[in-house]
């Protein structure tokens, strides 16, 4: 009897330990990574480097927040990278080709990006294509649209238009601020905070989670399911567009497929964030913490002279690990 009791106790503690790791594993991992990199290179935890890390994850985080919203309705938006690229091209072209003002350029670029979200929503909600496949198609479509728009090349100040006419437009100094610290970091933190409040403290946020949790139950509870799913994909595109604008300001030009590289780390951040604090569902703060983990890892490895072309191995492995913890936990 005693032995049996002890055994139960042991199992209980084990279960408690595992659930603790599952809840706070991301934070522990960040802490251990920072410790490790600092021991290896003391300059790692200098304020300037920590600021660099935050700056480097700003764009990923904002794009990942959009993805998080699509995850709340149990969808996955793969087209966010292309949307970011497209917005980058649009906003830079408006400055360089058409010499438009900052506000007009940004509003126009965001408006066009929202159309991308509407197309996604139409294919998924109305035509009923599974989300992954629908956004896989639009990922290619809008990557192609962006490239066609820029004539298959990049756009930067002083470069002629596609028809060869010279340009005089420049990126205005106010626009440059968006991509600089501390503004870019402030934008990121604002986005995280606003979306966190929206998801957790408003009716609409709750509805998004209900739709993602059980779409049929949500429908029969009288929730306008299609409307909320559409809304989620449009918000996803909106944040991808915001990421694209930050990217444009950061690099000061429109490059081919500039946004494509953000898809993978954004997916990783959002999935790492699922388990944060034991939430077990997509959440803004978790996504931010996930992005920090990816950022710390990338920065540390670069400082340790791991070549850039090998980084994908590590980033991919982190994504696999995050997915493993999500799905393995679900199975149990």
């Amino acid at each position: 009897m005693n032995e049996k009791l002890e055994k139960t106790n042991g199992q209980f503690n084990m279960a408690g330990f595992l659930s603790f790791i599952n809840k706070w594993g991301t934070v522990i991992a960040i802490f251990l990574l920072v410790l490790f990199f600092t021991l290896a290179m003391p300059s790692f935890s200098s304020p300037s480097n920590l600021l660099t890390i935050l700056r480097s994850i700003s764009i990923v985080t904002v794009i990942a927040i959009g993805l998080t919203i699509s995850l709340t309705v149990n969808g996955l938006d793969l087209s966010i990278g292309s949307t970011a690229t497209f917005t980058d091209s649009l906003v830079v072209s408006m400055f360089v080709w058409y010499s438009m003002s900052t506000v007009t350029s940004i509003v126009a670029a965001v408006a066009i990006a929202l159309i991308v979200g509407a197309v996604n929503a139409f294919l998924i909600v109305k035509v009923k294509i599974p989300d992954l496949l629908a956004t896989l198609s639009t990922m290619f479509i809008f990557e192609g649209v962006a490239m066609t728009y820029t004539g298959g090349g990049s756009i930067s100040e002083g470069m002629p238009r596609l028809d060869g006419t010279p340009t005089e437009g420049v990126l205005p100094p106010t626009f440059d601020f968006i991509g600089k610290a501390p503004y870019i970091i402030i934008i990121m933190l604002l986005v995280v905070a606003v979306v966190h409040i929206f998801l957790n403290h408003t009716k609409h946020g709750r509805y998004l989670y209900v739709v993602g949790g059980n779409i049929e139950a949500a429908r029969l509870s009288g929730i306008a399911v299609d409307r909320y799913r559409t809304f989620a994909y449009i918000l996803s595109a909106f944040f991808a567009a915001l990421g694209g604008i930050m990217l444009a300001s950061r690099i000061g030009s429109a490059q081919i497929n500039a946004g494509a590289g953000y898809l993978m780390p954004a997916v990783a951040a959002a999935f790492i964030g699922l388990s944060f604090g034991g939430k077990g569902k997509p959440n803004a703060i978790g996504t931010f913490v996930g992005a920090v983990l990816v950022g710390v890892l990338e920065n540390g490895l670069v400082m340790m002279s791991v070549p850039y072309y090998s980084l994908n191995i590590v980033k991919g492995a982190v994504l696999a690990l995050a997915l493993a913890s999500t799905y393995y936990y679900k199975k149990n």
């Binding site: 049929e216 139950a217 029969l220």
Partner: protein, 506 residues
């Protein structure tokens, strides 16, 4: 047959725990081949868990299992199958592969496990073998038909055929009659008897429908709260005694209908047809304080009627009026805004959010009552209302933050009903609300519906349980093949008359 050596299966001291729950404690169980054994218990009594242990679905139980006094080790479904034990689960769709045909589905285990070195499939032989199995059961079914095109009853037959495609000594049927009509149930019983008496299979029969047990079972095991209550012959027991054993207390036999003043007609459905004619030309009306019953066999269109009224299935033609206002119900969202509520049949799939806590389930249909400016939630108000509802309905849960997945079936159903009480609708539609719910929770749910009638609400109660319809309603519409064929006053009718009309008599 009596002379033949029977196989005896014993489970001794079986215990199993899940995180936070002791699902079985020291249960003994015994069956013999060639007999039909009833396994009953209220929801959460542990009968399904015990059978999952026996069929190898869990590997972390303690205790031992013996066949003919020889200890055997069952830790995986394959172990169980090799010992000749198989189970047919309640959810038939989970076990079938929709785009494979009947023969492939029947022979699946053999195709998967018994191919050995063979790489090519001899389809003619597969179909012939499947045919032989179906013949053994006396089932006429085209082996080339796809599983997705079968009726529920046919799907179940296919699963039973799969289970006995190989030599079986014990077959577990988990609530096999729940989705079946009376005729289909009779057919199932014929097969079960044939298996037991002519093929020496031991059948373990889990069911909530007591009359059936008397019809078909010889032995009975009653479980309660993860423990064995009794194991004995059916002979000498009556339904009331079994219910008492299941509940561990005496209960009033009959549900007493609330006495409610019935008022004016508040809800009217005229010439309503669903887009694909799942229901046709429906005319019903509900008065304030009135509970109307929708009776009919499974497949008569009761669920479709409920869903069409609620906008969950597309409407082809017809009118729906509430308080003399014409409603244009295009989807459930609009239906809810207009004051309709539906407690759907498929509780876990459609009624509740199993991964969410009780409180957010309860507020899901009425969240606007708990929001302030800019749609911000008022979490305190929401929780207070949830706690009150938990108390009002007697939902058994440690607190309002418990995940609904951890509640028993009856309590989940109370949550599904409570959601609509919070939403304060005018017309409540209940689709098989007592399905898979134990006797205690059932009378709670009846009380709730009676209470709603007392408030002057109208209720539509769809069920294939005639005794329930007779107990709770004021007026009954009988459905047959998607149409309403008869309107009856509950006080002037009986089970026989309803059954007569629901089987197409007129």
């Amino acid at each position: 047959m009596g002379q033949q050596k029977r196989t005896k299966l014993e489970m001794k001291n079986i215990s199993i725990e899940f995180p936070g729950v002791k699902a079985l404690s020291n249960v003994d169980f015994e069956v013999e081949s060639g007999r039909i054994h009833a396994l009953v218990g209220a929801n959460g009594a542990g009968k399904s868990t015990l059978m999952k242990v026996l069929s190898g679905a869990y590997d972390h139980y303690t205790g031992s299992i013996f066949i003919n006094d020889k200890e055997v080790n069952i830790r995986t479904p394959r172990d169980a199958k090799e010992l000749g034990i198989d189970i047919v689960y309640q959810e038939v769709d989970v076990a079938l592969i929709p785009y494979l045909d009947v023969a492939e589905n029947i022979m699946l285990d053999i195709l998967v496990n018994k191919m050995k070195g063979k790489q090519f499939v001899n389809w003619r032989e597969v179909h012939a073998s499947a045919r032989r199995v179906l013949d053994r059961l006396g089932i006429k079914l085209d082996t080339r038909k796809l599983a997705q095109d079968l009726t529920l009853a046919e799907k179940q037959m296919v699963l039973i055929a799969r289970a006995i495609a190989e030599e079986r000594r014990f077959l577990i049927l988990d609530e096999p009659t729940a989705p079946l009509s009376n005729k289909e149930t009779k057919e199932l019983f014929r097969i079960v008897r044939d298996l037991a008496y002519n093929q020496d299979v031991g059948v373990i029969f889990i069911s909530h429908r007591l009359p059936e047990l008397f019809e078909i079972c010889e032995d009975i095991t009653v479980m309660k709260d993860g423990q064995l209550v009794t194991r004995r012959k059916m002979e000498g027991l009556d339904g009331k005694q079994i219910v008492e054993l299941m509940l561990g207390k005496k209960m009033d036999e009959e549900y007493l209908k609330h006495n409610v003043e019935i008022g004016e007609t508040i809800f009217e459905v005229k010439n309503l047809s669903e887009k694909d004619d799942a229901v046709k030309d429906i005319n019903i009306h509900v008065r304030s304080g009135e509970i109307i019953g929708i009776a009919g066999l499974v497949g008569a269109g009761k669920t479709e009627l409920c869903k069409t009224i609620f906008g969950a299935l597309p409407i082809k033609s017809g009118k729906i009026k509430l308080h003399n206002n014409l409603l244009n119900i295009k989807n459930p969202h609009i239906a809810v805004q207009q004051g309709l509520a539906l407690v759907p049949e498929e509780r876990r799939k459609e009624g509740v959010l199993v991964e969410e806590p009780v409180y957010s389930n309860l507020s899901a249909a009425s969240l606007s009552n708990f929001t302030g400016s800019l749609s911000f939630l008022k979490p305190h108000k929401e929780r207070v209302a949830a706690v009150k509802m938990i108390g009002d309905l007697g939902i058994k849960t440690p607190n309002e933050n418990q995940k609904v997945a951890f509640l028993s079936g009856g309590n989940q159903q109370k949550v599904a009903v409570g959601k609509w009480l919070m939403a304060d609708a005018e017309i409540y539609i209940f689709d098989e609300p007592t399905k898979g719910v134990d006797v205690g929770a059932k009378s709670d749910i009846f009380d709730l519906i009676g209470h709603l009638a007392g408030l002057g609400k109208g209720s539509i109660y769809a069920s294939s349980e005639l005794s329930e319809i007779l107990a709770i309603t004021d007026r009954i519409y009988v459905m047959y093949d998607g149409e309403i064929v008869k309107e009856l006053l509950t006080s002037e009718t009986n089970e026989e008359e309803i059954l007569y009309y629901s089987t197409g008599g007129n």
